[in-house]
Symmetry: C2
Subunit: 509 residues, 2 copies
């Protein structure tokens, strides 16, 4: 489906729509409706179950979205969190440099200095993408943080966090106090980040308010033990930087072992690439053939990142691979900067008795982008059916409950509905229209199961009394079940994914 | 417990701490740590289960926190969302008028006009609360919204929403399209709101970023049917405005029926007071004797509110009753203003064939304040035990799993732990210190159950093989259970509260 058609479907079904829609919308802001909010929350819960399941020393916190100025000064965002902005002297439109240079440099301008971008402009003399004039300005840095006056006194500033990561770094010291004071220690945040994008576009892919799920793992650079043998033979699709520099754009499937052996990557890094890959493919159900890791070259990646692998999904709606998350080895940059900025010693005593500033491994996922990728890859038109192949544990509605005829079967269907709701099953009662139409509505919303209450369910004294027809979305298989086995079936399908227990961090207890 | 002691305990256990703590904190901002984030999320889930359980036509959405300027202009916030601010000419401190006038007017200055406040100041001649000078300025209005420059072009403004309610009003039109186009229709938001408080204080009670759970119910003013008979005889503690004007401050216990009959309140309004009361007391476990509804007089309430009842909880830590939520009958103000502001017709065809602008009933709860109230009322010191009497479904950890001796009983305890986690039970494994210390840690964190794996659990061939000691926090009763009944027991205790099914809105289906 093309992007417009997909968005139209999601809007019609109440998954999402532009914020302040009755006012004509607000660029780069979207509201999630009932189904979208439910799906989004399930993705977040699945993420938490999976990544916090990697260790008992990984924790989820919920920090404030506002950061005092001292924090973003120390982190470097006040100075460096900029995009090159170009102004048209004719129509006064503002563009990102990569938009203006799209034709001469389709891969974007990440990693280029302002001087290099100015050079490209001088060479290519692009026209204004909007009015066609040649009166484009030289690029100047535009800070993408939203700043606010903080407090009544005036003068004090705070910023909406441009990434959730900073909140985890700020929490490191307190989390050490609260916990075992031992490494590795993981601090995760699922929450909003805010960026004043020069040109929001591609729907959920460049928003001004968006949700990230980020795990920051603090570890002793002398060693980050992981159970690497459990993943050594797993193949993941990787496009290394050297391969890219040769002009290749197809990923190669390489085993985790080879990425460490011939590839020269650290075990802890590859271990987490595999976990992210498994989460997206085996668990969320994104097609393995559409997912790839892209290594950023030294020039492209943020200067503090020692390694940066983006994870991308190939999307029909957006015409190619799009980044949904990443794994970053950030070194000691973050804690060192905040130790300097705050004057607080953020080093920790290691088992060897030395003090060390922990290094950080960051595993990050864009929740909105993942939701869009699930819609793009999952919504399929098969004949007259439009089906969203969502895994059960993600489905906003896990089961639709239908009385065949409202008058005769409504009361019993209501009973089934209430019995399932009490058990925490996400059930929806629907008696409107033909059974076919009700199936179609559920198919489109991603509901994996439908239960129909019909004559045999309520006629007493037969082998089918008190049984109901369960229909499975993908296979369309139907089976008659009584309430108890029905509940068990739904419960089993609804379990959040968890990685095999690894407990890499703790001594055996 | 006093406020400082309670905060110290919550900070030590990692429930919450000041944001950007290593930088000395940020006034009015707090971060939730692992236990706090988990408890907060459980409160939110319980709220959603309860209030969305009132009708199948009540929905939860997740809108953006940023509102374009046109929205807050139409809603009146740009003009009116102000607090009177007083500046000291000596020390340059800034105060809220109610702080400066605390001694002469302990009930605050809600509802007074700037001129009236200026009159009080001229009469009382208060000193600066900080430096004692008498050089206090006349009060001037200070807008409490955080505004940001929106977009790169300059000139465009957006605001962090000062309440979640506006997002629901904006969504009304789309929600009608998506749904049945019938009233009543409920649109709920659980999320952050932001206020640049002149003087943040009382910890979670006046924050600059805080979480609200708000249900906006749109209804036909000609009738909002509720199953009032189900609540008619329920008594709730109410302090009416007329009683307050007589100088009384103790609530009277009045039945729902009497509040409608002699009290003259609409059934739909009282019905929702009862639901809020039940949620806070029977479900969350706040002591009934500490909760009261306070009616705001015409002068005190916002001018568009036809009725406003705050719900308050008496807190030792803050020295008296504090507001945690409210029920507001807002009339047609909100939709009328947004219809005017956006030019979009927000009226709906009623069954009688007329077009009507729906009225709004708002049920709102402060999640941070509720969390604090649960800590204040629930944390009790009994001899050497500090116990947090949290209901099971709210507890961040539902069950602690202890091996009696790690070496002998650790592997079996791990098995039990993993088996429960797979089933979605919030279990924590703890093998550190004596059993007594482990119980104490769990008691303080609000964990309702502990399971100990000991000799009989693993010695084969006895009646106790494969059974474990379950200890209940409040009764301290112990019982031996095998894994399957243990799981059932934990599951039953963990169910989120739901109101009895009412379905007031729909024709019988």
């Amino acid at each position: 489906m093309k992007s417009d058609a997909l968005f139209a479907l999601l809007r019609r079904r109440g998954y999402l729509w532009p914020s302040a829609e009755i006012y004509g919308g607000a660029q780069g802001l979207y509201d999630y409706g009932p189904l979208g909010a439910a799906l989004k929350r399930r993705i977040e819960e699945a993420w938490a179950a999976w990544f916090l399941g990697l260790s008992e020393d990984y924790y989820l916190i919920e920090p404030s979205e506002l950061l005092p100025e001292a924090v973003v000064r120390a982190s470097g965002h006040l100075e460096n969190f900029t995009d090159p902005e170009i102004l048209c002297g004719q129509c006064a439109s503002v563009f990102r440099a990569d938009t203006v240079l799209e034709k001469v440099r389709p891969d974007g301008v990440d990693g280029l200095s302002p001087a290099e971008i100015a050079g490209l402009l001088a060479e290519a003399h692009p026209k204004c993408p909007k009015c066609g004039s040649d009166r484009l300005s030289v690029p100047k840095p535009f800070n993408m943080m939203f700043g606010v006056a903080f407090g009544a006194q005036g003068g004090e500033r705070a910023y909406l966090r441009p990434e959730t990561a900073q909140s985890s770094y700020l929490a490191f010291d307190r989390m050490c106090e609260v916990g075992r004071k031992a490494l590795p220690l993981g601090v995760a945040v699922i929450g909003r980040a805010f960026r004043n994008e020069i040109a929001p576009r591609q729907l959920l892919f460049r928003m001004r308010s968006f949700t990230q799920a980020e795990l920051q793992i603090f570890f002793d650079p002398a060693g980050f033990p992981v159970p690497f043998e459990t993943v050594r033979s797993v193949e993941i699709p990787v496009l290394r930087a050297d391969r890219r520099s040769e002009g290749r754009s197809d990923p190669a499937r390489i085993t985790a072992g080879a990425l460490v052996g011939e590839g020269g990557l650290p075990e802890f890094f590859v271990f987490h690439l595999v976990q992210l890959y498994r989460f997206l493919t085996s668990e969320l159900g994104l097609p393995a053939a559409s997912v790839r890791f892209l290594e950023k070259s030294e020039k492209e990646r943020a200067f503090y990142n020692r390694l940066q692998f983006d994870v991308e999904v190939r999307l029909d709606s957006l015409g190619g691979y799009r980044e949904v998350g990443a794994v970053h080895y950030r070194g000691d940059y973050d804690l060192r900067r905040h130790a300097e900025g705050s004057g607080k010693d953020l080093s920790l005593a290691t088992e060897a008795g030395q003090r060390v500033v922990p290094h950080v491994l960051e595993v990050t996922l864009g929740i909105d982008r993942t939701l869009w990728a699930l819609a793009d890859c999952g919504l399929t038109v098969a004949g007259e059916r439009t089906i969203w192949k969502l895994p059960s544990f993600l489905a906003p509605v896990e089961v639709g409950i239908f009385p065949l005829r409202t008058k005769d079967h409504g009361p019993k269907a209501r009973e089934v509905y209430e019995a399932l709701r009490v058990e925490g099953i996400r059930a929806e009662y629907d008696s409107a229209g033909t059974i076919g139409k009700r199936y179609a509505r559920m198919d489109e919303a991603g509901t994996p199961f439908c239960v129909t209450v019909d004559g045999p369910s309520i006629v007493p004294g037969t082998s089918e009394t008190g049984t109901f027809t369960l229909r499975e979305r993908d296979s369309m298989a139907q089976v008659r079940l009584a309430l108890a086995p029905l509940l068990e079936r739904l419960r089993a399908a609804d379990r959040l994914p968890r990685p095999p227990p690894v407990h890499p961090n703790r001594p055996a207890t």
